[in-house]
Symmetry: C2
Subunit: 116 residues, 2 copies
Amino acid sequence: MADKLRYSITLRLYGEEKIFGPGIAELLEKVDEYHSLRRATMAMGMAYSKAWSIIKTAEQSLSFPLLISKTGGRGGGGAELSEPGRRFLQAYRTFERTVHDFADEIFEDMFGQEEE
Amino acid sequence: MADKLRYSITLRLYGEEKIFGPGIAELLEKVDEYHSLRRATMAMGMAYSKAWSIIKTAEQSLSFPLLISKTGGRGGGGAELSEPGRRFLQAYRTFERTVHDFADEIFEDMFGQEEE
């Protein structure tokens, strides 16, 4: 085999439509880091309107808010993860990591090479 | 939760670049069914030139042929899976199924709902 073989796993969650995946997970993590949805989108190079739409679609399907707005204060407001939003994000990341750890083992068995 | 939650897993294999994923796996399965790359692409609604490019890129990275051409005979030739191509496809599907079976169990534990 010419190239060293690696793999990737993409996990997505669906209700009636797509709810959650790597993009929104990273977006929420950036909000947690920057305390602002706008700064999170800038860090990711994502259009603010797209981020807003992704979050609203997910919130409707999940029936709980992912973000809470903070008004006033230095910088004139911002956003934080809601508690259910934080728990859901953690559940997604745990699910992803657990599947990944399992896949690492069988990938090596089956393809004889390790994931990068 | 408003919507019943489901998940999807996408597994991709990489060398220097992307080699293998759901699209090429389905394409190879259709070739196996129709004994023709052209008929496989028609069944998938995929451009023949795109299918050709995907397969050539994968073959270069893997350093073995995925397809073998059959010339002559009724219909004037066609394509079949090569033996290493068939084994690789089977390994990918087994990897995918094994990861999926594992993920089914923990998904139910974590999100309390079954995959559709």
